[in-house]
């Protein structure tokens, strides 16, 4: 266990190595969120409706503010690391060490995301305070607690989604651009830009049966109050089931890939 703890803290110090970049990344997250706030303000103002796409105005603002931060938080980038390790032959050094590669990468990613998670908590609290003072929008402590729990599970779930995808690097040589494209598509489908209800009832129904929406859309629904306590617990259970299924899938494809893997070098 000690070795995985070391990897975690190494990840934390890595993430804080370039503090200016970290700060700019944070500002880079805020800019698109602001744009969305202006869009929805105009839209609700123009329509005169209390609720659109199943969200009231404060709920929608909370959604777009938190979705931008959650999307950044759950984006682990593990696919690029695994791809690099496979194509550079770097995994050979993990194969000969007494370490589980998946566990190693998971601790590394969680360590790297640790500081982001703390800033994420502040972003969420800031948004909640702002909405409370601006429009008297109140969120229950239980919703915040369940949201943070589902957020942690969302990060792990996202890790396994991309880990499964990354094992394709065993079979495909030029896959960097594919990862780039698929991560953007996944972000949109997960509700990282707009709530999935915006894309129509058909996709909303389908989205219940795919793991993607459990990384962004449903955790934020818990926070915004569009999902009740019972639904929140249901979301947590489904997240755990998907994590288990994808972990098994990832392990199978990893072992299948290793059979094909050939390390050449001195």
């Amino acid at each position: 266990m000690e070795k995985y703890k070391t990897v975690f803290w190494a990840g934390v110090s890595n993430s804080m190595e370039f503090r200016f970049d970290f700060l700019m990344n944070l500002i880079g997250t805020v800019f698109p969120i602001l744009m969305q706030v202006f869009i929805w303000s105009a839209m609700y103002g123009d329509s005169g409706c209390d609720a659109m796409y199943g969200y009231t105005f404060p709920q929608m603002i909370l959604y777009v503010v938190v979705a931008g931060a959650v999307a950044k938080f759950t984006d682990t980038g593990v696919e690029y690391m695994v791809n690099e390790d496979i194509h550079s032959g770097g995994i050979a050094r993990y194969l000969v060490r007494p370490v589980n590669y998946v566990g190693f990468r998971l601790c590394d990613v969680v360590g790297n995301k640790f500081v982001s998670m703390i800033s994420m908590v502040f972003v969420t609290l800031g948004a909640l305070l702002l909405l409370f003072f601006a429009v008297d929008f109140v969120v229950t402590p239980a919703a915040v607690l369940l949201f943070l729990l589902s957020l942690a599970l969302a990060a792990v779930l996202n890790f396994f989604i991309f880990f499964c995808l990354s094992t394709l690097a065993f079979w495909l040589t030029e896959i960097g651009n594919f990862f780039h494209a698929i991560s953007v598509v996944i972000m949109v489908m997960s509700g990282g830009i707009f709530p999935v209800s915006v894309f129509g009832s058909t996709y909303e129904s389908i989205s219940r049966y795919i793991p993607l929406t459990y990384t962004i859309n449903y955790p934020i629904q818990i926070l915004s109050g569009t999902a009740g306590i019972t639904e929140a617990v249901e979301v947590l259970c489904i997240q755990l089931i998907w994590i288990f299924l994808l972990a098994v899938l990832g392990r199978c494809s990893w072992h299948l890939g290793l059979k094909k893997y050939v390390a050449v070098g001195g």
Binding site: L23, M24, A42, M43, D46, N177, F178
Partner: protein
């Protein structure tokens, strides 16, 4: 004057040759071209999602109808294509850090020209320019703007001014590499600012509109062509649109010269 024209023709010819070379090297690996197109299509999906929301709700952006918004989003996507196309500009930080400018310095012709027009990325530009042009045409049609020479001329003029601004702003952002060690943060911030053009400037509060027009005139890149033909600009604003392009180009040229003076070759 005759000599100047001759020189200009030479630069145009060289730029065309560079274009052919870039296309040939891209098509050497067609799969790379296809995967580049796929990446851009994925990013375009985000841009179009915003348009989808506006269209499906039928909302007005300030005084602009959703049909008018199509033209603005089209211009933004088109300009993104132009930005992606100029990979010579975008690769400056890498070239400077690696010390690759040494070789270019020994070649005849302007160093700025050779660096910024030496390479083009067709894969990233193609989907953006195509979809952007289609959206601009669709928006134009839906707004029932007469396709007179005057209207087209004004639109193309401000589109060209936008292209000059895209080049100048992109160049200035890349040239910061001569003064700072890591450009990652600057690139992130510039990309975030650029994305504010995803929606017409009328969406934003007055203070942001003023900042985006006068202080950091990023809104001029994609808004002025549409606003000009819709008759939303007064004479001063029309002049400002052209003046900023000229000023930005001169400023980028001065910055290039200042940056090159700081360049120290570290190549072995």
């Amino acid at each position: 004057m005759k000599e100047r024209m001759h020189e200009l023709k030479w630069y145009v010819r060289v730029a065309v040759h560079f274009g052919k070379l870039s296309l040939q090297s891209t098509m050497e690996y067609p799969l790379n071209f296809v995967s580049g197109v796929c990446v851009e299509l994925a990013y375009m999906m985000i841009k179009l999602v915003y348009l989808y929301v506006v269209m499906s709700s039928g909302m007005k952006v300030g005084s602009l109808t959703s049909d008018m918004v199509i033209m603005f989003v089209g211009t933004y996507i088109f300009m993104t294509g132009v930005w992606m196309f100029l990979s010579g500009v975008n690769s400056i930080p890498e070239q400077v850090i690696k010390g690759d400018l040494d070789l270019l310095m020994t070649k005849p012709g302007s160093l700025q020209f050779l660096q910024t027009f030496g390479k083009y990325n067709f894969a990233l530009a193609f989907p953006n320019v195509t979809v952007g042009t289609m959206l601009m045409a669709e928006g134009w049609k839906r707004c029932a703007i007469p396709a007179t020479i005057g209207h087209i001329g004004v639109f193309v003029l401000y589109l060209a001014a936008g292209i000059v601004l895209t080049y100048s702003f992109g160049l200035m952002a890349a040239l910061l590499v001569f003064w700072v060690t890591s450009l990652h943060a600057v690139s992130t911030l510039y990309a975030a600012l650029w994305d504010y053009n995803n929606m017409p400037m009328e969406l934003y509060p007055k203070v942001i509109r003023q900042i985006g027009t006068f202080l950091i005139p990023i809104f001029l890149v994609t808004n002025w062509s549409g606003m000009a033909i819709l008759g939303r600009l007064d004479l001063l604003q029309l002049i400002w649109g052209i003046a900023v392009s000229v000023l930005a180009f001169i400023l980028s040229r001065l910055m290039w010269n200042a940056g090159i003076r700081r360049y120290t070759s570290a190549n072995g």
